[in-house]
Symmetry: C2
Subunit: 206 residues, 2 copies
Amino acid sequence: MLKLYYARNTCALASYIALEEAAAPYEAIRVDFGAAEQRGPEYLKINPKGRVPSLVTEWGILTETPAILAFVAQSFPAAKLAPVDDPFSFAGIQAFNSYLCSTVHVAHAHGGRGYRWADDDTSFADMKRKVPQTMRECFTLIENNMLRGPWVCGDAYTICDPYLFTISGWLGRDQVDITEFPKVNAHAEAMKARPAVQKVLREERA
Amino acid sequence: MLKLYYARNTCALASYIALEEAAAPYEAIRVDFGAAEQRGPEYLKINPKGRVPSLVTEWGILTETPAILAFVAQSFPAAKLAPVDDPFSFAGIQAFNSYLCSTVHVAHAHGGRGYRWADDDTSFADMKRKVPQTMRECFTLIENNMLRGPWVCGDAYTICDPYLFTISGWLGRDQVDITEFPKVNAHAEAMKARPAVQKVLREERA
């Protein structure tokens, strides 16, 4: 039985949805960021980075969303969540997810977590002001160059989709209207129609 | 024949070394960042993100270091650069590389590329001041929790190694002495002793 440690309103949602789509045997365990549980000694034993998601497997613990997503796709091949045996196509999926984690998620994080990279309140305010611009730039690229439609990789639903859905869900908070990006918006609506996504969103909000 | 677009002193070094270690048929093409060639129309056709590395393959173009490294490992299995058929071990490699790209590279980038996330000179100076602290935190975690030694994954040399070598090579510029981290330092020295690494460093500096 896999154990996914997640927190509400974080990128862990992507792994949660992927596990559900894969029909994987798993348990989802909420980490309370409000109580700073991710910085407590118990959780730091699971993930010394003090972040979510973490996936406890029978072989050890995995962290980092792109790695967990690839693991789910490779471990549950019947769900066909990635073309794991085609090096180029699989790498294309990794490239998309890598862009989300290293550029888009990072752009978003400057809105609320500027203390990771600076110390002064004036810098935090400056960073926060720029977030709508950087997120808009990222989603312009996603809309025009990456998202094939209806799913990220075209007709096949893959591990890119829950990850894009998770991050496009942050646009509102970042003061960017998702409807500026018609394909991204249609993607989010298509995601919300999937039973696995509905189930996870219900559980996350419960 | 693969074509790797790279620039000096960038994370593209990791993919360059991996291609060489894999004995892949490839050509390395330098992009001149000094002349802002990465923002020119010719290069933007290859990679609309205006970044390196980009790998041109017969099936299309790949970007993002973790994706290119996984592609090289999966395409040239004889080089045994990753346990591609073991989902957990392969995901562990992806997790390490994902941490390098989304956390460590990002921490470093705040030293010279603060304009990506803010607009004011005071913010850039604030970010730059914090880089030695954030890089030291990242490398403390790598030293204590991630680098098994002698290679990242233990006795097996993998696609994690050229990537770690590339980023640990930036510590000096970030005003962190690599010898504060004995295992990371020994790793860098072991990398420099490898013929493939020596060849790539010679070519990169030529």
